[in-house]
């Protein structure tokens, strides 16, 4: 059954995308480590770190696509799940510093020492163990999503209201994590990591592995997301998105369906955050900022929501653009980003991938009609066309 579940996921484009990701996971670190710096094929560490970051963002956008593109929940708080995953990883990395901190205190991270904390707060317990920390990366965002979703979906908060309260959630968390008394390092966040599983975080090999892990996890999550959306459950999901009341009247427990998807998506976001932190070397409350979550929505929209691959491409494109503009034309970066949002919503409502897919399907349908064959249904693949019209 599970094999069937996975096989169903591995259809056409997803196979190609997963293949590319796995290839990237091997080739990029190889080119970084094995080629001499002056070789034409050499990928500098800096570029690899950058690409690793994009892949984490891509995973975050994929997570959002799962709830927004397939379930109609526009979450403006996905950055919160991302950040929580990141904090779980960051706390593990902080504990790994041990007595190499500037004060040489074996138990307390530096920021606690100079704020005169005497002992480790309870919520830091256990995070020095890698398996426990990794479990927390999934559990903390998942639990928050579960509690939040359990309340919200049962009381049928939806549409704009849901978006606004997810925004309130991430905003409240941002304020909370900014507080120094919370024990998460306040606005400075967690930084100056030394090693992960005994390997130096800064070392070339560790970076390569982290990069490969990012690509690999993205591929894995893509398969899971694809399996979910292609299963029968996925069809119901799209039903919930397009006509929630009807699905409810058909006897489905809409709130449970939404809740499941929301929790899975939050866990994806948590994984993305956990991979992000060791690669960029810092996690702080700025990641909770509502503006960050809105940006994720934009990546998804640019790539094309409800396509799984679109958000990945959107996240990479927009962030590559950001890296370029903030270096080359710093003053114009916000004009470009703002213009992109407007242009995409006005001219590419389906996003890049959605538009291409739409054109592709239309041509295929045309061809099919012309050939007058028995006609494999062009609309079998999940499409987003109807959504906007339905609203």
């Amino acid at each position: 059954m599970i094999t069937g579940f996975i096989l169903r996921a591995l259809e056409g484009k997803i196979v190609i995308a997963v293949g590319i990701l796995l290839a990237v996971a091997i080739i990029v670190p190889a080119l970084n480590l094995l080629t001499p710096p002056d070789s034409a094929f050499h990928i500098p560490t800096y570029v690899m770190a950058l690409m690793g970051k994009y892949l984490c963002y891509a995973l975050l956008a994929l997570a959002l696509d799962l709830v927004w593109g397939y379930c109609g929940i526009l979450s403006l708080g996905h950055g919160a799940f991302f950040a929580l995953g990141g904090y779980a990883m960051g706390m593990y990395l902080m504990r790994q510093i041990g007595s190499r901190g500037v004060y040489g205190n074996p138990d307390l991270p530096d920021f606690m020492v100079f704020l005169n904390w005497k002992e480790l707060p309870w919520f830091w317990y256990g995070l020095d163990m890698f398996p426990f920390a990794m479990a927390m990366v999934l559990i903390v965002p998942g639990l928050l999503a579960f509690v939040f979703g359990w309340f919200a979906f049962r009381s049928r908060v939806n549409g704009v209201y849901l978006s606004i309260i997810t925004q309130a959630m991430t905003y409240a968390l941002m304020l909370a994590f900014f507080r120094n008394d919370m024990g998460f390092g306040g606005n400075n966040g967690l930084t100056d990591f030394k090693d992960i599983l005994g390997f130096q975080v800064q070392a070339g090999g560790t970076r390569a592995v982290l990069f490969a892990m990012s690509a690999f996890m993205l591929a894995l999550c893509l398969i899971v997301a694809s399996a979910i959306t292609r299963s029968k459950f996925g069809k119901v999901l799209v039903g919930v998105r397009d006509a929630e009341s009807r699905v409810r009247f058909l006897g489905f427990r809409v709130e449970n369906i939404k809740l499941f998807t929301f929790v899975v998506s939050a866990m994806f976001a948590g994984i993305a955050g956990a991979l992000f932190v060791p690669q960029v070397g810092i996690i702080n409350p700025g990641e909770f900022a509502p503006a960050n979550s809105i940006e994720v929505v934009v990546w998804t929209a640019v790539g094309g929501r409800g396509t799984l691959i679109g958000p990945i491409i959107g996240a990479i494109l927009v962030n590559a653009g950001k890296s370029f503009f903030t270096g080359a034309f710093p003053e114009f970066w916000l004009f470009a980003l703002g213009g992109l949002f407007i242009a995409v919503t006005l001219f590419l409502p389906k996003g890049i991938v959605g538009t291409i897919q739409h054109g592709w399907n239309a041509r295929k349908a045309l061809k099919a009609a012309a050939d007058a064959e028995k006609g494999r249904d062009a609309g079998a693949a999940p499409t987003v066309q109807q959504v906007q019209a339905a609203e």
């Binding site: 484009k13 190609i16 995308a17 590319i20 990237v24 990928i43 500098p44 800096y46 570029v47 770190a49 950058l50 690409m51 994009y54 007595s99 500037v102 004060y103 040489g104 205190n105 074996p106 530096d110 920021f111 020492v113 100079f114 704020l115 005169n116 900014f178 507080r179 390092g185 306040g186 606005n187 400075n188 966040g189 930084t191 100056d192 800064q202 992000f276 960029v280 070397g281 810092i282 700025g286 990641e287 691959i309 990945i312 491409i313 990479i316 494109l317 962030n319 590559a320 890296s323 370029f324 903030t326 270096g327 080359a328 710093p330 003053e331 970066w333 916000l334 991938v353 291409i356 592709w360």
Partner: protein, 429 residues
């Protein structure tokens, strides 16, 4: 049109965008320095000025013939007030653009974010803003004030000159105020101030409704002892704070407020007439009467083509840092990091208040502390100036750091040497 092409193209674009573009400017007869200040986002309000100041300093240096016979070239990037982006941009400046040194950062978060990058890639950062101390990196020079170069002299002034006996420590809830207030509280209590005469209050970033807190301060001040407010309130929240103070009729003669984050630039957004007499402690004020300062202001006005632009303390810190670097590079004869790190310690350069500042072995500098009172024209009038003070990275008033010192000269080369145990590495274990 396959997805393979798309995805590959995207990744390629990502790689190229950052390498190709910056590579294009590379030329052998220039020395590049990086400018890492936010030009957008919430910190742009403070940092943009520093970017302009750096560009001006580079231009002036080039007029004098550059450094080591080569022209300087500033590479400006925008980390957009986003802390992880600071680390990314720092990495870009060092490993792609091959800059010789970087001048930048404002918040402690941004400095903490780039610190591992500078240590890993062995480059140099000059950090020009006052900060909470408790840090000393081999690769960072702290040209802004440490708490003992700002907070403690200010409190001394209030206690001695104005006879203050009751203290409100009000700050924005982040690490700089928290640490500074911890230090101040320990310092005041060591001077015999009772715990009930100290009130500590924290507010969120960008706090704009100060009614409750100002009236609390008023109440706290009605205990019959002379009261003062020590403000570590962060930039943006200051304007509404001072407006509320003025409106509730708290005059500087009754309850003076001494601020560590309010300079000429922040006052530019305020009608300062009701604030006359409130204080600030810095190492430089635009109103300082010194020929070198007059010259600096003239150059600044000419460079910005705006004779209303004010100068401020972080600009002076950037000025000192830049000149110290130039002098160290010329002494070392190269811009290579290790050589510069060796030659810069002990370098003395003029500061803008008429004296000289020396780079100390702990990577902090010596500067005088100036206490100024706000004037109706938005400037400060210096009411006290101390002799040059050495920046103290490890505070003597925090239990865990009082035994630590930093000395980056050989043979010690340690940022957290413990004088009690005689070992490098904090408390030791």
């Amino acid at each position: 049109m396959s997805f393979k092409a798309k995805l590959g193209g995207a990744l390629l674009a990502a790689a190229l965008s950052t390498t190709a573009f910056h590579g294009a400017f590379a030329a052998d007869d220039t020395i590049k320095i990086g400018v890492l200040h936010s030009l957008s986002g919430t910190m742009a309000i403070s940092e943009t000025t520093l970017k302009d100041a750096m560009l001006m300093l580079v231009e002036e240096q080039n007029k004098k013939g550059g450094v080591l016979g080569k022209k300087l070239e500033a590479v400006v990037v925008d980390p957009a007030s986003d802390w992880p982006l600071f680390a990314e941009k720092a990495r870009q400046l060092i490993s792609q653009d091959k800059v010789a040194a970087v001048f930048g950062c404002w918040t402690s978060s941004s400095r903490k974010s780039v610190l591992p990058v500078f240590e890993e890639l062995n480059s140099i950062l000059f950090y020009p803003v006052q900060y909470e101390g408790e840090e000393s990196s081999r690769n960072i020079f702290y040209t802004g004030a440490a708490p003992n170069q700002q907070a403690i002299p200010a409190v001394d002034y209030l206690a001695e000159t104005e006879g203050v006996e009751r203290w409100v420590l009000a700050g924005t809830d982040y690490v700089y105020p928290q640490t500074t207030n911890k230090i101040l509280k320990a310092y005041l209590m060591s001077k015999g101030v009772a715990e009930e005469d100290i009130m500590i209050n924290y507010t969120p970033f960008g706090h704009s409704d100060w009614q409750t807190i100002v009236s609390d301060i008023k109440k706290f001040g009605s205990a019959g002892k002379k009261t003062a407010v020590v403000s570590t309130i962060n930039g943006d929240a200051n304007v509404p704070f001072y407006k509320e103070l003025g409106n509730q009729g708290i005059k500087a003669e009754d309850i003076p407020v001494v601020a560590f984050s309010v300079g000429e630039e922040e006052l530019a957004g305020l009608d300062t007439a009701p604030l006359v007499g409130h204080l600030a402690a810095w190492n430089y004020f635009q109103s300082v009467d010194a020929p070198v300062n007059a010259e600096f202001i003239k150059t600044w006005h000419a460079y910005t083509k705006n004779d209303k632009r004010v100068t401020n303390d972080p600009m002076e810190a950037a000025y000192i840092g830049f000149n110290a670097w130039v002098k160290a590079v010329e002494a070392a004869g190269t811009t290579e990091t290790d050589a510069v790190l060796d030659s810069i310690i002990g370098v003395s350069v003029p500061n803008l208040s008429g004296g000289t500042s020396t780079v100390m072995p702990n990577h902090h500098i010596t500067k005088p502390v100036l206490i100024g009172e706000i004037q109706a024209d938005g400037q400060f009038e210096v009411v006290q100036e101390t002799a040059a003070v050495v920046g103290d990275e490890w505070s003597d008033y925090l239990p865990d750091s009082k035994d630590l010192i930093s000395d980056w000269r050989k043979p010690m080369e340690c940022g957290n040497f413990n004088v009690a145990t005689g070992k490098c590495g904090g408390k030791g274990s």
